[in-house]
Amino acid sequence: MSDKVYPAVPPTPGTEPYWEGAKGGKLLVKWCQDCGKPHHYPRGVCPHCMSTNLEWREAKGTGEIYTYSIMHAAKPAYVVAYVTLDEGVSMLTNIVDVDPGKVKVGQKVKVVFKPSEGGGKLPCFTPV
């Protein structure tokens, strides 16, 4: 798994900072400066209040597993999960660098960046 290069989808206008941040080892989350809430995936318009007054903030990079599934239909199997960051926002991700059988709901995890096509990095999570 460690040599896996993840597929990448080209950024759309406005999402480039997220991917640039990932390349530099930062997990960025969009926050609304009007309603004060974070959201993910990042948008140009706040999904809570429709404000465009948004900013990127670096997340601590820690959180816990809300739910997961081990994809046995794929070889090798991989673990897809929703991780809720300490900042209170959840994201779809993969749990990596762990025996899939050891993954649990509620487990504390931290972000790790894995290579993706085109020289980019993809935020994934691994148990703390």
Partner: protein, 391 residues
Amino acid sequence: MSLKGKAYIVGAYEHLTRKAPDKSLAQLHAEVAKGALDDAGLSKTDVDGYFCASGDTPGLGGLSMVEYMGLRVRHIDATDTGGSSYIVHVGHALEAIAAGRCNIALVTLAGRPRSEGMQTGTAPRVGNVQQPDVQFEFPYGPATANMYAMAARRHMHQFGTTSEQLAWVKVAASHHAQHNPHAMLPKVVTVEEVVSSPMVADPLHRLDCCVISDGGGALVITRPEIAKNLKRPKVKVIGVGEASKIQGGGVGLDLTYSAGRESGKAAFEMAGLGPSDVKYVSIYDSFTITVVMQIEDLGFCEKGQGGKFVADGNLISGVGRLPFNTDGGGLCSNHPGNRGGMTKVIEAVRQARGEAHPKVQVKNHDIVLAHGTGGSLATRHVGATVILERE
């Protein structure tokens, strides 16, 4: 003004094929249209409203299909909410008929993922890269099966639901499918066989997943004045509802409920009925967890109790309290175009008419319900509910 009873389902037809390598998608649409019109005792020149889902209909919305079939319509609606589209269309047809936009509505579904060799549930699909979530999700390998599996995992964690309880959904479906000569999987299975089948996306096993099939189905819906002069048993649309479920920007994420909570409430309110009035349900069964969650959200049991509710044959016709999917459903019979909503309405119509297989026909079939989820259970979908009354 309530729309209750302002339309009747007068024609319903399910394509018998489960694999159609020799037929085009357009031909399948046209064949089911003909089947439903024949069932209603109507012809294509009677149709003045056409409903389809843009995603399974070749060409631009419904335009290419009205051209292919030679339909001259004055109302067209290509709303696509995934597998629930055709349940949505019953409501949309009801509204269009009540508003005077059309008199005779034709709804079609067709698909041939089996002939196309599509790995429907296990292969992540990119789709349109402009779709705003794709760049943040596709790289992680979300497929249909593992997204639903995550809803199942959370349900198990939060409510203690077990794999054995989920398996009962499949067991019940298989008890019904044994009587359906067209079912892809007509063999009765046990809980043990389900939980010992290969794991696809933990905690969902192969037998927790629906089949992949070609085929299709169609409905004809019309106004009461026309319905009363047609030959078929009268199946009145008395409740409809639709609702969306979203992730809420990732704040307060909750994968344990579906839009059935709102769509079911709306449909029951229109009908002036509650869950205890319903004698038969068609519930979209893309996976076993889909059924458990939707049964809870529709109010047939408390939230979190769906696993216990479906256990011990409670969904088996003639055995349990809530007979479901008496054709074998998507789990055993078919899942044309990866879209289960149409066949859910068709089997509900059969039940209301008293024309289901005698071994699975419910005795008192005055009120039936069809419900489905289109999109991805728990994370983003549209739920749709219809309640039908045998007049």
